[in-house]
């Protein structure tokens, strides 16, 4: 089970992994919350890669993950994107006048109380001390991709998305990266689930931290964490 935003990388890695080891790993991609709930309801999953820490914490508290297998797999960065190709880069420092920049327009984000990208984004804006100012202009989507689409279609002049999403979209311009200290680290934790069967899960988790996987992840713009 993996967060849907990992699709490209994870499928590539699964392909090579299955090819190299003869295992038959299948991936189920969906929102982290849906996957977590399914695991709570007894889903036959062996490995879970969440897009946020919260759901992993919940599962850990419920005793649903195999102790000692949890690891922070990936990290991501948050960027400000603009629809206008000529947009000036923005210095994302405390107190920056984002509201002014927006004019009357909207700032596209994922749901700020629900979806990881939105939660991080809100935290970042709070970290910069400008959340109160821009909050009324925030348009929240149910996921990062939708927020990206809003900017790409020019509906919203600016948006806050993951760096990984921004790279692949030609229609938007990255105009600034939020300082890593302005928000909690954006971490994709992975863990083997309690009651898993076979050794494939361990093998695959290890493989995920390997060099091949790293290349795939990095190609998609992720920062790979953990021991080199």
């Amino acid at each position: 089970f993996a967060a849907a935003s990992l699709k490209n990388a994870i499928e590539e890695i699964v392909g090579t992994f299955n090819g190299e080891t003869g295992h038959n790993v299948t991936v189920s991609l969906a929102g982290s919350s849906a996957l977590a709930r399914q695991i709570q309801s007894g889903a036959p999953a062996d490995l879970f890669i969440s897009a946020n820490v919260g759901w992993m914490d919940t599962l850990e508290e419920d005793g649903l993950i195999a102790p000692g297998t949890r690891a922070d797999l990936l990290a991501n960065a948050l960027v400000l994107i603009a629809a206008d190709p000529q947009a000036e880069p923005v210095e994302l420092s405390p107190g920056v006048d984002l509201a002014g920049l927006l004019g009357g327009g909207h700032l596209a984000m994922a749901l700020v109380d629900a979806v990881p990208a939105g939660i991080y984004g809100k935290a970042a804006l709070e970290g910069l001390g400008i959340w109160q100012a821009v909050a009324p202009q925030v348009a929240q989507s149910d996921n990062v991709r939708a927020a990206l689409a809003l900017v790409a279609t020019g509906e919203a002049p600016y948006g806050i998305v993951y760096a990984t999403d921004a790279v692949a979209e030609p229609g938007v311009q990255v105009v600034g990266t939020f300082p890593a200290d302005s928000h909690p680290p954006i971490i994709y934790p992975a863990a083997i689930l309690a009651g898993h069967e076979g050794a494939a899960a361990e093998a695959f988790l290890a493989y995920l931290s390997g060099a091949t996987a790293r290349a795939s992840f990095e190609a998609q713009g992720f920062v790979v964490l953990g021991e080199e």
Binding site: G31, S33, A36, G54, W55, D57, T58, H106, A108, L111, D113, A114, V115, V138, A139, Q140, S141, D142, A146, A147, A149, L150, T153, G154, E155, A156
Partner: protein, 230 residues
């Protein structure tokens, strides 16, 4: 009102407004399209039929995305409409549009079924009494298909109350402007422990829809009694 926060009440009010608007505004085109599909025999028949069903077939996200492309401020129709002052993007009107489009196939089907059940002999009789086609429709066909229209409206209303995927994709989720009940529920469900808050909203949602259902049954029965035993 202690158990719902002000923002939640806003969502309830907005949802109601969106659903009602969507239902009311889609009724006339719904009846028209149903009429054309039920009675018309023309080359584009299958195409129109398919188009109407499209929102049912496509994942809502796709529909929302297509709406964004068409009715967004930069979209071909959106920019046109914006000039005459109709803006959908990030407005509750957009939510209503999304809901209406998603509910349209359901409404059209219900009305169409009713139209097909109308005995054309009665319409003929009306014509011999001097009623033009429009008059025949208003005075004979429409009253006779009232149960279908009511059924279509209630389906559309219920669907509009529950619509979420296309709405949030199209107009996103701005509290007080485009945050409908389903968006709020979705948001609660995304975070661990949000279930109870979501449940409260679900209950409100169900209550409203039930009221609408009961009202529709009452209306339909009245209409049915009027036409009954013919």
């Amino acid at each position: 009102m202690g158990w719902l926060g002000p923002e939640e009440w806003q969502a309830v009010a907005l949802s109601l407004r969106v659903a009602l608007t969507a239902t009311i505004f889609s009724l006339p085109p719904g009846i028209l399209v149903a009429l054309v599909l039920a009675r018309g025999r023309f080359p584009g028949h299958a195409l129109l039929n398919g188009l109407v069903h499209l929102p049912l077939i496509l994942p809502p996200v796709v529909t929302g995305y297509l709406l964004l492309l068409t009715f967004g401020t930069k979209g071909p129709l959106g920019s046109l409409l914006a000039e005459i002052g109709i803006v959908f993007a990030f407005r509750w009107t957009g939510a209503a549009l999304a809901a209406a489009i998603m509910a349209f196939p359901l409404m059209v089907r219900a009305i169409r079924l009713s139209i097909e059940a109308v005995d054309p002999k009665l319409e003929e009789a009306a014509a011999t009494l001097g009623a033009s086609r429009i008059r025949v429709f208003v005075t004979v066909t429409l009253p006779l298909i009232l149960p279908g229209v009511i059924a279509g409206a209630v389906l559309a209303f219920a669907k509009a109350m529950g619509e979420f995927g296309a709405t949030i994709t199209f107009v996103s989720n701005i509290p007080g402007q485009t945050q409908t009940l389903p968006s709020a529920i979705y948001a609660f469900l995304q975070v661990p422990g949000g279930e109870s808050a979501a449940l409260r909203l679900v209950a409100v949602s169900i209550a409203i829809a039930m009221l609408a259902l009961i009202a529709s049954e009452w209306f339909a029965r009245r209409a049915g009694r009027r036409g009954g035993g013919a």
